[in-house]
């Protein structure tokens, strides 16, 4: 089974590898998958609280080349988008971009899950901080 050039590129030159401060209120962290399945992705986003734009994204992945490429691509795509725009990213977009074969589609699904999980985590943090931000907006 040969990988597409794009997958190989992401594997050799992964974008945005690393970690953001999990404790920060601007950071959303998504951790999806399980070691037993051979796929674990951690995707983090840093969101501008005024514009809701994702300014920074980082990832770490335990998984095959397609999984690494899918999550690397995901960080590339969410950067510069608003949170709502990022939620519109579908796994089949990733499949198309990376030319993933059918046996690797689950990698793209996991990447989509990771984006959603990171955004979900960030949103939860905003909910619990809501009274403060509502006051500040006044």
């Amino acid at each position: 089974m040969s990988y597409s050039d794009k997958v190989i590129d992401h594997y050799n030159n992964p974008r945005n590898v690393g970690s953001l401060d999990k404790a920060s209120s601007d950071v959303g962290t998504g951790l999806v998958g399980a070691p037993e399945c051979g796929d674990v992705m951690k995707l983090q986003i840093k969101v501008n609280r005024d514009t809701n734009v994702i300014e920074e994204a980082k990832f770490k992945t335990f998984g095959c080349g397609s999984a690494i490429a899918s999550s690397s691509l995901a960080t590339e795509w969410v950067k510069g988008k608003t949170v709502d725009e990022a939620l519109a990213i579908k796994n089949m977009d990733i499949v198309k971009e990376l030319s993933l074969p059918p046996v690797k589609i689950h990698c793209s699904v996991l990447a989509e899950d990771a984006i959603r999980a990171a955004i979900g985590d960030w949103k939860k943090k905003q909910e619990s901080a809501k009274p403060v931000s509502v006051e500040a907006a006044k």
Binding site: K60, G63, C64, I68
Partner: protein
């Protein structure tokens, strides 16, 4: 007649700075298959266009030439395993030999009993055959293995009953290279009057495999695992003390003493014979060299990397096999990083079920470590320089992938990964 054969050269791009004088890609997957030894090819060539007769053609020199090639090969194989020529049957490979041995005994001895004993770590050629027999009403016991990969002889003793007609346990495992206690199993089976078959695909030609010293009744042999051709193998079938009878699974002409019909693959058989002759001559010296290279690879890797675990017993193991799990790094991504080296992984990312190697699972290796395993199969044509290169590339790739790994990060933070509630666990 000139037989100018162009033996294709391996690609020689050396894009890695450390690969001086080494031909890339390196082949280190000799349990999957082996390159043909040039001496084997040379032995086979005349049988394609000059001595091309059907070995069963009794009446002319073309047939006699084919027959001579076959019988010479038969002698060589018999000699390697300590059998007589009448006890060697040619097949299309070890998978067929396994099928013939197991189904052949099952059908022939049906009146005597319907219980078969095997082990969970057998090759699919044995396991799937047993599964099929279960559908036909046979009872199969799948013995577990211990952490080192060996069966417990007490388990075997307990499993045997008066309906047991066959024990089938492989000599050397293809994934972890572990050697089962074949001599003890043979002794036990002989005492109990149960037929003992061993799938010796990975063992023949690499370690001594004498059928009498080990009380073996049936033994599967493969050509392409010992620098011989693919598509040919043999089955040893004992004729004395006791005489084992088999029902054929392929009908049509009664070749090979009625046990395996079909025109013989003469060139393939000749190749198998030559491969056995070479193995017999070189075995002692070669197995020593293989073990040396394997240990060199192991030590170089294990001395540099932490949290790398060897799967299976080191004491009872094929000299050229090494199987290591690298924690926090997934196997397929590791293979991708060493794409100028041919090895294989226990990760099954491409299989439909996402389940990793069942052999590693049987050892009690967690699924995550099973996903992180690499099998190295050192062979006759590997060199010390290749071993060093492979070790270094594995080390650098593992280190790089650990930087990318959320599991490694969590482990370094002191988190016990077994305590984590993973989002994907429900699947």
């Amino acid at each position: 007649m000139s037989t100018d054969v162009k033996i294709p050269q391996a690609q020689t791009q050396t894009h890695h700075p450390d690969a001086k004088g080494i031909k890339l890609p390196i082949y280190m997957d000799n349990h999957a298959t082996t390159p043909m030894d040039p001496r084997v090819l040379e032995e086979m060539l005349p049988y394609f266009m000059e001595k091309f007769g059907n070995a069963a053609s009794r009446n002319h020199s073309f047939g006699w030439a084919g027959e001579e090639g076959v019988e010479t090969a038969r002698e060589r194989i018999a000699k390697l395993v300590g059998a007589t020529t009448k006890e060697i049957i040619f097949t299309s490979g070890a998978t067929e030999s396994d099928n013939l041995a197991i189904k052949g005994v099952a059908e022939m001895y049906r009146e005597k009993g319907n219980h078969i004993i095997t082990a969970v770590t057998e090759h699919k050629a044995v396991l799937d055959t047993c599964k099929r027999l279960e559908k036909y009403g046979y009872r199969v016991t799948y013995l577990p293995v211990q952490k080192d990969g060996l069966i417990d002889l007490e388990d075997l003793k307990r499993a045997m009953d008066d309906k047991t007609i066959l024990v089938t346990i492989m000599w050397a495992n293809n994934e972890i290279g572990v050697l089962q206690p074949v001599a003890e199993i043979g002794k036990l089976c002989r005492e109990r009057g149960v037929i003992f078959h061993t799938d010796a695909t990975q063992a023949v030609g690499k370690i001594p495999t004498d059928v009498n010293k080990n009380n073996i009744d049936l033994m599967s042999i493969s050509g392409h695992k010992m620098y011989g051709p693919k598509g040919v193998g043999a089955l040893y079938v004992r004729r004395k003390n006791p005489r084992v009878q088999l029902s054929a699974i392929i009908d049509g002409g009664g070749h090979e003493r009625g046990m395996r019909s079909g025109t013989l693959n003469v060139p393939g058989i000749v190749g198998l014979g030559k491969a056995c002759a070479i193995a017999q001559e070189d075995m002692a010296q070669e197995s020593c060299r293989m073990a040396g290279l394997r240990n060199r690879l192991r030590d170089r890797i294990m001395n540099r990397l932490d949290e790398a675990y060897i799967n299976g017993s080191m004491e009872n193991r094929l000299p050229g096999n090494l199987n290591i799990s690298f924690a926090y790094v997934e196997g397929e991504s590791l293979l991708m990083g060493i794409n100028d080296i041919a090895v294989s992984s226990g990760s099954a990312c491409t299989s439909a079920t996402l389940e990793p190697s069942y052999v590693l699972k049987a050892l009690g290796t967690g699924d995550d470590l099973a996903h992180s395993s690499i099998r190295f199969g050192i062979g006759r044509f590997n060199t010390e320089a290749e071993v060093d290169y492979v070790a270094d590339r594995v080390i650098e790739t593992v280190e790089r992938l650990r930087e990318l790994s959320p599991l490694y990060e969590m482990a370094k933070e002191g988190i016990n990964l077994k305590d984590v509630k993973w989002a994907g666990e429900a699947h």
